[in-house]
């Protein structure tokens, strides 16, 4: 029975399903590498972006200028170029190869990708959060002032929690862009999901099989990410939706009022 299925697939399937199945564990390892790189750089970039966004939203010109330059440079150049600069570019200089950073970080492709990805997502997230902070409802800030909140307390209790919530929908895009951007890792020898697709192509000269498998797995990951965000948005942004739409189910025959 099992043999006949394999036989059937080998003769009749337009794509080599058996070969994909045989190498599926490699694809899963690749997906794990992709997820690892994406998630860790999102965490690092996210943590970096909070103080930077506060600086960008404030009006201290000495602090503001360098952060502005940072976000402008990293948003203004392609991720691939940034990654090449860190991986191939820095390695070119002998004095960099002699610093303590070389051995544990810059000599390793994985860390080079992580540095590039983290800085890239930090730049985008900074600007995204800045917009959100600037757009905080003035009434809320004034109310906090009236209650005698200090500046730091206002930021911590009122502005940031509200800004994070309102930034959530835009941030889900950034997460998905970062996942898609992580394919850059495969150009600097990392066996991420796309890297495994390219490996399969290199080994068996089957482009379609390797890339369609990678594509399907990317699709599944993105689906899970957007599902997760939709859940969080419902949870954290419930107060911004029209009350009926969230609390009660739409009545039969009436168009849903949900956004």
């Amino acid at each position: 029975m099992g043999d006949s299925i394999v036989k059937f697939l080998e003769t009749w399937s337009p794509i080599d399903v058996v070969l994909i199945a045989q190498n599926f564990d490699r694809f899963l390892w690749g997906a794990l590498t992709t997820l690892e790189l994406t998630l860790i750089s999102l965490v690092i970039g996210g943590i970096l972006s909070i103080p930077l966004a506060i600086i960008r939203a404030g009006n201290n010109p000495i602090l503001n200028a360098p952060v502005w330059v940072f976000t402008y440079v990293f948003r203004g150049t392609p991720l691939l170029v940034q990654t090449y600069l860190i991986y191939y570019g820095l390695g070119q200089f002998e004095w960099i190869r002699e610093t303590f950073l070389w051995g544990p970080i810059l000599s390793q492709a994985w860390y080079c990708a992580l540095v590039a990805f983290s800085l890239n997502t930090a730049a985008y997230t900074t600007e995204l959060l800045r917009g959100s902070i600037v757009n905080t409802n003035r009434g809320e800030v004034e109310a906090a002032k009236a209650c005698g909140f200090s500046k730091a307390m206002r930021l911590r209790r009122i502005v940031l929690p509200s800004a994070f919530r309102r930034a959530l929908p835009a941030y889900s895009n950034e997460v998905i862009f970062m996942l898609h951007g992580s394919v850059v890792a495969s150009t600097i020898t990392i066996q991420d999901l796309l890297g495994v697709g390219r490996w399969l192509n290199g080994r068996y000269y089957l482009a379609y099989e390797g890339f369609i498998t990678a594509a399907v797995l990317y699709f599944i990951i993105v689906l899970m990410i957007s599902r997760g965000f939709r859940f969080w948005e419902k949870h954290w942004l419930a107060h911004l939706y029209p009350r009926d739409a969230v609390k009660t189910k739409p009545k039969k025959g009436l168009a849903s009022f949900r956004i």
Binding site: R97, S107, Q108, R198, G202, Y204, Y205, A207
Partner: protein
């Protein structure tokens, strides 16, 4: 940049296709070449292609009395692009192997040179299963060398690159313990250059018939058998009339056609 390149290629391809349909007789021969594999092919700073493969391609076209249209293609995408009819033949040092013969067909070989390891001078790298265990060996993805290493040294950590240039670059700065490639490509592309002065061949010639095959051939689609015959005739032609030897002498000190 990439997009523009693709568009230019597409435009060129449509133009060629259009012309081909007008006069099917002396149609241009569209040849897929690489451009990142010195001394067989490389790109000058003004964008022109140079190298042994390029000159052989021109000579073959002249012998067949057809006009050559060289189309640059990344190594990974060579066979898929051939199958997608982006060009009619590949002249890019592609070794004739059984694995590739499942997808495409080959002319007779037009050269055959051995494969070798390159490591730092005095590295003491032992070319054996135990000596290479856990070592990081760099090589170009999708080559016969990948097949060889995966078959003979499965415990070695393979670091896969898109181009041979990138392999040399990372070997020079010590990201990999050694590299494995065609000996001529390593000699002219790396060892004879400034970056390669501290490196040497190690372990002698490596050959596995199933992986390396009889040598490099010109690749054609399976259904294009008449083109294959024409190419064979042309290879014999330039061997007999001395054109091959003249090109050979420009690049190498010995006849690389092999026995």
């Amino acid at each position: 940049m990439k997009f523009r390149k693709i568009m230019t290629l597409l435009a060129a391809a449509t133009l060629v296709l259009g012309m081909a349909s007008v006069s099917a007789q002396a149609a241009d021969l569209r040849v897929g070449v690489e451009g990142a594999y010195p001394p067989f092919s490389w790109k000058e700073s003004d964008g022109t292609l140079k190298g042994f493969d390029i000159e052989i391609a021109e000579a073959i076209c002249a012998e067949m009395k057809r006009k050559c249209v060289l189309i640059e293609q990344d190594w990974d995408g060579m066979i898929p692009a051939l199958l997608a009819k982006k060009f009619d033949t590949i002249i890019a040092s592609m070794s004739i192997t059984e694995e590739r013969k499942k997808r495409v067909n080959f002319s007779d070989k037009y050269y055959n040179t051995p494969a070798k390891f390159v490591a730092k001078k005095g590295s003491g790298l032992e070319i054996s299963k135990s000596g290479l265990k856990g070592k990081r060996i760099g090589l170009q993805r999708g080559t016969t060398h990948q097949c060889f290493m995966e078959k003979m040294y499965p415990d070695t950590e393979l670091v896969l690159y898109g181009t041979q240039d990138e392999v040399f670059q990372d070997l020079a700065i010590g990201r990999i313990d050694a590299q494995f490639s065609d000996s001529i490509a390593a000699d002219d592309g790396f060892l004879k250059t400034d970056a390669g002065k501290d490196f040497e061949f190690t372990g002698g010639d490596q050959h596995d018939e199933a992986c390396h095959g009889p040598g490099a051939g010109m690749t054609v689609r399976k259904q294009d058998d008449s083109l294959r015959m024409d190419l064979n005739k042309a290879i014999k032609g330039i061997r007999d009339n001395g054109v091959y030897q003249k090109i050979n002498a420009k690049y190498f000190e010995f006849d690389i056609f092999g026995g």
